[in-house]
Amino acid sequence: MTSSLLYAFAGVALCGIGLFGFIRLRHLLRKLMAFNLMGSGVFLVMVGLAQRQGEPDPVPQALVLTGIVVAIAATALAVVLIRRYYHLSGQTTLDESPKEPSQ
């Protein structure tokens, strides 16, 4: 069991926790946190699993860098949306208030 493999398993744990949070939490910002947690988990798995023999592998590191940027973009977009949503509806969750037209 190399150290990088340890990272991989840590990543697995993070994925599980993140998923649980993503499913259960209702406050949108918390959901977003949970998503980011899961994301980090995925990145850990990606890097850790790839260089389990110990020698560094640049490719997954590059991939993870790209992944991080994408995740940040997504998070930023989500925050903007959530904030505007809060501003317009005063809500922090997705459940519909009675006055909204229900889908």
């Binding site: 798995v45 989500a78 949306l81 509806s89």
Partner: protein
């Protein structure tokens, strides 16, 4: 030549995204028209090239896989590229007249629109698992941006829900990629396929495949993961809804199908295949039923997308462990279904937009008497409906026919029920709209007449989807073309 076509295909949308970002709505509109023309020509050219002398792999930056990213340019890919060019151009054209230039935020429609188009092309041509992931994100984020554009609380709620679903989906997919890379050390789909063929099935990879399938199914809104779709597609501006329903959901399905066809035999299982098919079948029934109940016109169309997407997932059971011929029939049927649904659904949303615009209400009952005032848009809506019901000679019918043959050929008769019942149920909600439009005793007698061009666009799309059935043979022939192997290793 090919180089230029590829460059044009990948470069134009991105470049136009930048250009239109720097302009206001009106200028952006003019520039966009030019870009559409370029895209159409380039896509057509590439299609002609592939139709002429077969598909090929295209190594970006001159770096072969597995080091670099290779694009897979085969018959299927160019068919979808061409389809995208058609539908996206139509929607863009419609939007350029439909959207109100006075609203300051509409200027941001064009860049998002072009990024979406770029993402779609990237996905159709992508042959590299991670690159596909980036392409998917490009699509999702621009789509969410379009849904939320200038919207109010309800629109934002839909957009957020859409974004969260999309993000979860792509994470699941990415996790699968991570596992596959850890196992095979490569990201090129072709290469991985060859490896798995040599090494055979593997539990780790099987789990990875399941993860990816889940993620992609979530992004494709497969029942029961469809809850995010109707609000998003229903509340967006009509041209946007058209783009989303016609193309965006297809992108994630396309990746799922590619994975399945390359890796399914080794890594898939009968249970997984049947399970996907079962969910698809349920989606057909449930989606049609919900569509029948919706009070709002665009909600009806949106739920019908849920149902129509269900058909696509019959690909999995019908190709798993099936004979070459049957599997081919199934693939052709699904391809036709994708194309015809894209055309029909785009037509339907655009027509729905026109109808709503003219009666000033988005409810179904409001259509009473519209058949007297707006026959043209209504007629486009109806023709599109024919294709959704799978009645001849539409593309939807040809697709249904091939799927019937495939399910008979593979002895999986239970899909017949889905196919036939689904057709009848869709007739249920389509005829509900017709019916509403034939009602004569309507109290409202003032109808706003949208510009002619707004009415022409959905008609063209609807006619295409209707005529597709007659040309099915020639459309499908390009899929069977020879394909030069690549993918490194």
């Amino acid at each position: 030549m090919t180089l230029w076509l590829m460059a044009g295909l990948l470069f134009t949308p991105l470049a136009w995204a930048v250009l239109t970002l720097l302009m206001d709505f009106r200028k952006g509109r003019v520039v966009t028209w030019l870009g559409m023309l370029v895209q159409l020509l380039v896509s057509l050219g590439l299609w002609a090239v592939v139709a002429g002398d077969g598909g090929f792999h295209y190594a970006l930056g001159g770096w072969q896989a597995p080091l670099g990213i290779e694009l897979r340019v085969d018959g299927l890919a160019v068919t979808f590229v061409l389809l995208t060019a058609l539908v996206a151009a139509a929607c863009g054209w419609h939007a350029s007249i439909y959207l109100d230039p006075a609203k300051s935020w509409h200027r941001y429609f064009w860049p998002l629109y072009w990024f979406l188009w770029a993402g779609l092309n990237a996905v159709w041509l992508g042959g590299d698992l991670f690159n596909l992931y980036v392409g998917l994100e490009l699509i999702s984020l621009s789509a969410v941006g379009l849904v939320a554009l200038g919207g109010q609380a309800a629109a934002l709620r839909a957009a957020i829900r859409y974004l969260l679903a999309a993000l979860l989906g792509s994470l699941a997919y990415l996790l699968g990629v991570a596992l596959i890379y850890g196992q095979s050390g490569s990201l090129s789909l072709a290469g991985i396929a060859r490896l798995t063929e040599q090494s055979g099935g593997d539990p780790g990879l099987a789990f990875a495949l399941m993860l990816m399938m889940f993620g992609l199914a979530l992004k494709t809104a497969l029942f029961p993961l469809h809850r995010w779709l109707p609000p998003a597609h229903g509340i967006a501006k009509s041209p946007v809804s058209a783009l989303l329903s016609a193309l965006v959901v297809k992108a994630s399905f396309y990746i799922a199908a590619r994975l399945w066809l390359e890796l399914g035999d080794e890594l898939g299982s009968y249970a997984l295949a049947q399970g996907m098919g079962l969910l698809g079948g349920t989606a057909v029934i449930w989606g049609s039923w919900r569509a029948f109940l919706q009070p709002k016109l665009k909600q009806v169309v949106a739920y019908s997308s849920v149902a129509q997407i269900g058909y696509l997932f019959l690909l999995f059971p019908l190709t798993w462990g099936a004979s070459e011929a049957v599997s081919m029939q199934a693939q052709q049927g699904i391809t036709l279904q994708v194309i015809s649904h894209a055309l029909a659904k785009a037509a339907m949303f655009l027509a729905a937009g026109n109808l709503i615009m003219s009666v000033g209400s988005n409810r179904v009952e409001a259509l009473a008497g519209v058949s007297r005032f707006l026959p043209f848009s209504l007629f486009s809506f109806g023709l599109a409906g024919v294709s959704l019901m799978g009645l001849p000679p539409s593309g939807g019918f040809a697709a249904k026919w091939l799927l019937l043959q495939a399910s008979l050929g593979s002895g999986q008769w239970w899909w017949l029920v889905v196919l036939l019942l689904g057709g009848l149920l869709s007739a249920g909600y389509v005829f509900r709209i017709y019916r509403a439009s034939f009602v004569e005793d309507s109290d409202i007698d003032h109808f706003y007449h949208p510009p002619r061009s707004l009415e022409v666009i959905p008609m063209i799309l609807a006619l295409l989807s209707l005529g597709l059935g007659l040309a099915a043979e020639s459309v499908l022939s390009i899929m069977a073309l020879p394909f030069e192997e690549g993918g490194g290793v």
